[in-house]
Symmetry: D2
Subunit: 420 residues, 4 copies
């Protein structure tokens, strides 16, 4: 994934130890277990390289943030800027505005030149100072623009779609023999990007979600037969719902995409909920937005600007079903519905995420300066690694119902293993 | 408002200074101004009385919490209990369950006997350990029950309706010559009970609401032409919306029941919003749930269990109108709607509210032990006072658009004085 | 306290209601009580005046922050600037650096010109962007400098000493017939300035102090015979210690300057502490820094740069005495000493203080623009008022041991009324 | 490390997937790098085993917490109890009081029988409900006592010393042929136990420490030439200081045990600090308590009750040296010293630590029920593992100055790589 051969510049902070391209991290490390998919994959260890591809004095970098908000975006922008400026001496860093459309001069605003003063305190606030949007970019016009601007390093902060777009940019530049390093920093509040065991913003989201679960618990404890439904992020993966459930310890039912559930029947969700209400007088339900989609009928064809299929609203659906069930059984109840997604994702990064953002950002700069391209920074087995973007498409990261975290969910909730 | 004459028991904590019934606080204190309504009202100063009506060893107290949640309910319950038990030596305090229905043995669960251990840490959690519900009580059955249980002191924690019901209970008891002290502790997250300049839970609600406004601001700053609508509590009064707006300093439009507004026209809300969006690219709107009801057509007749007219949803209405307006003008925008009421009201009390709850609770106990009845504890000009319940009905507490707080809202938002 | 007669300019935000100089607020409002000192004092109501003394287009304002840190300083600076700029149209506002020495060109740095951008987000951080220092100013050089700079309005944010210095400046300017409005905004984390029932920063300090008390309680609950001593601010007044004690509900002994205590003797503090430890196995002691000074021997003559007598360290003294006592009695114990003052005072303002800061700031601007001088903004009976600086020296604000807050402390701690 | 052969009982929650003893995790996973110490070590994967050693109906468990406080102790106690009770059906769980002395009937209080009610909300508070103390235990008396009480499973929550003591207990029991499973849960706020990449409580400590660093930064920014020294935990390892520095981004100098530094000389710490002060006017210094011990002269022989050599106070030493240096150079400065250790360690666990505590606890229960003994639960490369206690003594976990986190510290502070 190197652009071509390395340049002659050297890592300026020479007292820091550099990493060797031959150092690698295997995807699978468990021994004595059955071979698992990905066991044979080896990733380059991320870190500063002694030989640089780009001469810092000639390098010009750009940063773009795409897709939905996630805690820590500003932390990443800031640390990318500071590492470029102070560790490498890169003089100009551009911030492209409003996501990928900012790369296209026909659609977007002109980029801003980032300065120390402008980014110095941004890590204290949520959101992204660059702005964001959904949707792809015209790769030809974008690369034209990057060439015109003299940008030879581009950091793309975003999810799968963004990183696939990033790969197209680097391929387009390659086609034109323009040496462009495109390095992605994976953004996923759902924590569903493979080879990224901890993604920035996730822990903050868990914290905020757990806070809402606590409030929901308070609400339903204070009324007779109170039922709270809390819809959390998680289109395809239940990590956020699971982690928030374990952190809160006050959830009674956690529903995620990876564990399908039946509503009806004596062992279905409704019966279990009714038993809980009769026995204990209150219940808190945490549900990932992507859970139970199979209950909602055929998926629609509507898509958002990022190209994601628009999910049907399982939260409102479940509220309706519960309402119908309990009225039908003549069991009085009080319903409280929470949909805190915007509040969760716009939070500033918490301490742990601040550190994670800083590390992802600086490793991305190391990769780019060494001329790596077409990759995202991953995090596996406590190591930062280089993950080729094409590899992201080959695997999915989903919550394994036999993993310790789901076991902890079952223990914390006391819910049955299956609603069947 | 004394039940009859005082008893012979004396305030046990005799080293603390007692208050004299002749000490009073005037409703109006401004001089040189035009006379204002209420100027001539004098309130008894609250506080411990030297002579008690009830012999602590013979007194039996009850507590009930009614209506919607409000931060600090548990703090009040706890301090009422501790003051009764340790400052006066009252041996038995009952907690009635699930609001007023808990007073009626035909409808409610039996009361619980409160203990030191049971209430010791409850101030750290939101909600009410007694549970709550909406709706009135059958006064005859309730007083029968109180007599049967030997309860001669009842603390009613709730809003206007609750306190009117409380008055009926004391009148019913009086009719039967049963010496029952009923003392109310006013609960109003909207801060709209007269003669209560600061009500418990309000400041916590402001804090939580300001937190959501901050998140809304982050959301709309991070996208092009982002518009956030944040619906806050406030059926008839805009205090919460105003205070949260001033605390946040990031709101651009604050809409409250006391200041009607037009949507259409060149100086109407929509035009001002459009100008803001064109000029600045984002806007945060804080709207009290009771604002703009006149725009929603004739009020419905639907009422909730507390007897409140059900408000039409101004938040969703406004979202729809904005959507319609901006689509009509072909101005692209991104809408974010927040309805954080449950999250706000179920918060544990913050520091200031903890202190306020403690003070309301202890003053209520002083009043009851001295045989005061048919009153709520008020707070005026930094003094705790006795407010006869019948007085509550004679006045309304509304936000005065010429007051410093609304002036601060206008300064913080930069919004016009009127949308006309 | 007007500089001379009013000018011809008018309040530009004419739709807001203005206040009349004849409206006043009495210091004493309780009726039926014995006359109290200050009962006959009347204060002008603060607020916008219709007639201005300064023509906004000709006015030039300065702000200075003096003395120790207090939460909310930046909020005040920001709202003073915004009110001057946007409500009145004053074009230039200077920030004097590092306290009073910034007024003296021989000692300080040059003032900075404040801008919208520079102050826009400062309310989110603690401390003061202008910097601060202790110590007086040479009034002649300072007034020379103000005249040279064309500054005709000066806002002084600080404590008693600062405000006395402020008065000297205005008298010096008056002597030279230079129309200078000097308006003070009282800063006191101890809440000990008379006629200011709630001073900005105090509630934040209470919150932070209560947080430390909670941690201290955790420490001593987790070991056998754990004793925590937490020293809090309060040179002459115990308001902070009292309020934090009531908020925390976990303190067992609160010691303040207004309530002297004996250490020795069967009813002295040491015996009570020992009884508590033997009975309950842990104790939390909150002590104001000014408490028990009489136990420390003759006051030294050392003074800090503000001219305050340096207090001897009652915290360390008490720790030593406890150590000595328990060793002497052969009672094992574990001591934990907390001195969180810097952490407490450097906190950003919480929600309530944000609102208070905004109100103090805007009322100060109203006063200055109307040509008021030699006053501080006070807050009494829920009203913002004008307090002549010379009046501050005539009275002291101390915690009254017969007030509701001290009664609440006695209830929360269960400590005896006197250690004698 | 199994006690003997397995029993006949089976894991009751049979729907959860069990782990196989043959599954293992290697200590070293990097490939292509030079062989590292520990590369060849393999650890058993932690998790539920299908075959149990103890019949849950016959098992009796005990829990003990030892040493200094650490966020999350109560979370661990609670999850150990719940996993024993609800996942396995163990009926009796004892809590030993006040650390190891609680195992010795001659020295400690009798153990308490834990109940659902007693532990249900304890995770919301810091400290340990069992109490703690330092110091070893008489193994003979302790094992006598465990046998007498019928305790066959003991969970020891504590640091190195505690776990070595735990091993002695299991060996003593083995000597007597008493089947006792002793499973340790490693507690280290310094994060210095080998094979535990993330220890519970550490992230909360980082969060609290970063909060104090933020306050220190506010203090020194608000005065001229402000210098803050913040002493943080870290007897032998600088992980906490490093992580808090990266999280805060406001530290200018971070000093840790692993990176010795010179004070004097042109490239020594004092000269660098002076340059910083002259250039920027303020500085924040974060120093681990174990840093620079070589500067303090010969280590004393004093030890605390845990047997740790008492460190000399580098914080106060540094404050003295800075004072001396700046006075000597006639550079005015303002010093602020922070020693927040008690505040940091007594915090309740944050979200991430709550999850970690839960996982450590449940994995410890799995190990014990399967008859594992003489081990602690470790966490390596995202896997929970079994670490034989004797292995803990063979390796030290120290911060590697060539690791990404120290590189991030150097970038965040801008400090030189060495003070020489």
């Amino acid at each position: 994934m190197n652009i071509t051969s390395l340049g002659t510049a050297q890592y300026p902070s020479r007292l820091k130890r550099c990493v060797d391209d031959r150092q690698s991290v295997p995807a699978g490390i468990l021994r004595g277990a059955k071979a698992q998919p990905g066991d044979d994959i080896l990733f380059e260890l991320a870190g500063a390289r002694e030989q640089l591809f780009f001469d810092p004095s000639a390098a010009r970098a750009g940063i773009v943030t795409c897709g939905g908000l996630c805690p820590g975006l500003n932390d990443v922008i800031r640390s990318v800027f500071f590492e470029l400026r102070y560790a490498y001496g890169v003089q100009e860093v551009l911030g492209f505005r409003w996501g990928y459309q900012g790369l296209d001069p026909e659609r977007g605003s002109a980029p801003v030149v980032l300065t120390h003063e402008a980014v110095d305190r941004i890590h204290l606030q949520g959101g992204t100072i660059l702005g964001t949007s959904r949707g792809p970019v015209d790769k030809a016009r974008a690369v034209d623009n990057l060439i015109r601007l003299g940008v030879n390093i581009l950091f793309t902060i975003g999810g799968d779609g963004t990183q696939r777009g990033a790969r197209d940019l680097f391929l387009e530049a390659q086609r034109r023999a323009y040496p462009l390093a495109v390095v992605g920093i994976p953004k996923t509040i759902d924590s569903d990007i493979p080879f990224v065991s901890r993604s920035f913003g996730f822990l903050t989201a868990v914290q905020e979600a757990a806070r809402v679960l606590d409030r929901a618990h308070t609400e339903v404890r204070s009324v007779q037969n109170g039922i709270a439904v809390v819809k959390l992020m998680g289109r395809h993966a239940g990590f956020l719902t699971a982690a928030a459930t374990v952190a809160s310890q006050d959830v009674n039912f956690a529903l995620i995409p990876e564990v399908p559930f039946n509503l009806e029947g004596d062992r279905g969700f409704m019966s279990e909920l009714e038993r809980r209400i009769v026995a204990r007088g209150h219940a808190v339900i945490a549900i990932a937005e992507g859970a139970g989609q199979e209950l909602l009928g055929e998926p629609g064809e509507a898509r958002d600007a990022s190209g994601n299929v628009k999910l049907k609203d399982i939260g409102q659906f479940l509220v309706g079903k519960i309402d119908q069930h309990f009225r039908g059984r003549n069991v009085p109840f009080v319903m409280r519905y929470f949909d805190p997604s915007y509040i969760v994702r716009s939070s500033p990064a918490n301490t742990e995420d601040s550190i994670l953002c800083d590390q992802f950002a600086r490793h991305a700069v190391h990769a780019a300066m060494a001329g790596k391209t077409g990759l995202v920074i991953g995090y596996l087995h406590d190591c930062y690694i280089h993950v080729p973007i094409e590899l992201l498409a080959t695997q999915q990261k989903r919550l394994d119902p036999s993993s310790p975290i789901w076991s902890a969910v079952l223990s914390a909730t006391g819910q049955p293993h299956r609603f069947e």
